[in-house]
């Protein structure tokens, strides 16, 4: 009962929570805006890791592609931020379709590394190769080029926050739909037993390709939102040294679930925010977090919450035939 209700209201609850917190802590508005954006970024990685079972050490590349697609448009071509966002999603679509066939063919360890390689090349391209149009490390500024939309002015933090929250709501609705759809089941089936999926008549190559492309669109979309939020981009958006962060956030929230990415983004950015007040090299904390998640917390926050709620339901109903949370995947050693 509660589970169905929770699932139905999930996207709304998430958005309400962020909105309420934003008004409770008015001077943290940029933090909550970033949570919404980072959630979308983690969602992309969650499709790869949580649903398809693929690890990528190059997710910042896709963030960078989306960010630069948006920034270059706004700096040189047009003024409409919505068009720029669509371009960001479109860049993910193109990269997913083009890179997909050669990437997903690889063994999983090679898949992780080819993405890392791509990410390193990406930084070089943004920083050096295209320096004439990206301005390299100085960054590309375009805030003043963005036009005001009829209802929203994305240049104002309050207004952009509302925009991002609405976007997050829509994206969560789509994500939940994907999770429940047969395509979502195919993704999880692929991870569970790829060979079996072939023997019942599925072209698993195509399924992976579609999954990779969707993941890529989520990531580039997040990059676009980052760009508009800051009003500028620089190569650090696609920094390969930060590739592990999104993986940790995915695990922390609970991989292979609809709401895991939100909890992962929230916890990860929250810890980062608090810790970085005292420690400058907060990468240490990322390292410790990774180890903790791998060995002690493989279900992640959302997985643990679900398990806890299931436990309550079990005691209330006295039923003993309850399966574990849908599709949640443990990441721990030896599982």
């Amino acid at each position: 009962m509660w589970k169905k209700t929770l699932d139905r209201l999930g996207p709304l609850l998430v958005v309400l929570l962020v909105t309420v917190l934003r008004y409770l802590f008015p001077n943290k508005i940029s933090f909550f805006t970033e949570i919404a954006i980072y959630t979308i970024y983690v969602m992309g990685n969650n499709i790869l890791y949580g649903y398809l079972g693929l690890v990528s050490f190059g997710q910042p590349f896709y963030l960078g592609i989306g960010g630069y697609a948006t920034a270059l448009f706004l700096a040189y071509v047009g003024h409409n931020p919505l068009v720029a966002l669509l371009l960001g999603i479109g860049s993910g679509l193109v990269f997913g379709i083009v890179l997909g066939p050669s990437f997903i063919r690889l063994k999983s360890s090679y898949f992780a590394l080819i993405n890392a390689a791509l990410c390193a090349i990406g930084v070089f391209i943004f920083e050096r190769l295209l320096i004439d149009i990206t301005r390299g490390n100085d960054g590309l500024w375009f805030r003043s080029n963005m036009s005001k939309l009829p209802l929203l002015d994305v240049r104002l933090p309050q207004s952009f926050f509302l925009f991002v929250v609405i976007v997050l709501f829509l994206v969560l609705m789509i994500y939940r739909h994907l999770d429940r759809s047969t395509l979502g089941t195919m993704f999880r089936g692929l991870q569970s037993n790829e060979e079996k999926l072939k023997f019942i008549g599925y072209d698993t190559f195509k399924i992976k390709w579609v999954g990779f492309t969707i993941a890529s669109c989520f990531s580039t979309f997040a990059g676009s939102l980052y760009a508009i939020n800051f009003g500028f981009v620089n190569p650090s958006l696609g920094e390969n040294s930060r590739a592990v962060e999104v993986i940790v956030a995915t695990l922390l929230g609970g991989s292979g679930t609809v709401y895991g990415p939100f909890f992962g983004a929230f916890a990860f950015l929250g810890i980062k925010d608090i810790v970085s007040r005292w420690i400058t090299r907060w990468e240490l904390v990322v390292g410790i977090l990774t180890i903790l998640v791998l060995f002690r917390f493989s279900k992640g926050i959302w997985g643990t919450i679900q398990q806890y709620l299931l436990g309550i339901q079990k005691r209330v109903s006295g039923s003993n035939d309850i399966r574990s949370p849908k599709g949640s995947r443990s990441a721990g050693a030896g599982s």
Partner: protein, 233 residues
Amino acid sequence: MSVNDGKKLLHVESIDVSYGKLKVIFDVSLYIDDGEVVVLVGRNGAGKTTLFRTIAGFLKIRKGAIRYREEEINPYKAFEVAQKGIRYIHQDKHVFSTLSVSENLELAGHAIGNKDFGPVFEYFPKIETLLDRRAGNLSGGERQMLLIAMALLGKPDLILMDEPTEGLAPHIITDLATSFKKISKTTTLFIIEQNLPLTAQIADRVYCMREGGIVAEIESKDEIKKMSFEKYL
């Protein structure tokens, strides 16, 4: 059995199959007619599983041909062979263990746009009571039922079952034997089986395999009932 050449459902013609340099199937020929229950017997390591995986398109032949409804199918990929109407049920009884039973069925049916689970619940009423269960938590017998149910949802013309009764309790084997009889009314079955009494009970025809080759084919009902294939193992 009728020997209406050229009209076979499946025709394996002098195939060789190797794993790298190691040849494990030598010049195997056999056929399956529409509507038959054919059982393949043979010791462990004889090459039975390899033969099935080859028919299912997962391994490629070095020589010979595999014709299904007169079409050469070995060049196709495994998923394409499945789409042509052949379902292969693994020996290892692996299902999509992290998915629920109903999600397993959903996937199996969706491959051909079949949403009607009713007919398979008639064969296996038990499955209908397990829909919300995580498939990985099913017992061996339940898992085998689920696998057969999934195969049936694909509305195949031919099901290849690799040792379906291996490791199951006797009363479950009896139930399965009854199901095979029912299923065989609409679907051709090619079954690998080590259980000889069961083989005698369900088979229309028996092939015996040994060290990568077919060493005998038994067509006579009497010979099958007498389990005369035992001497070829």
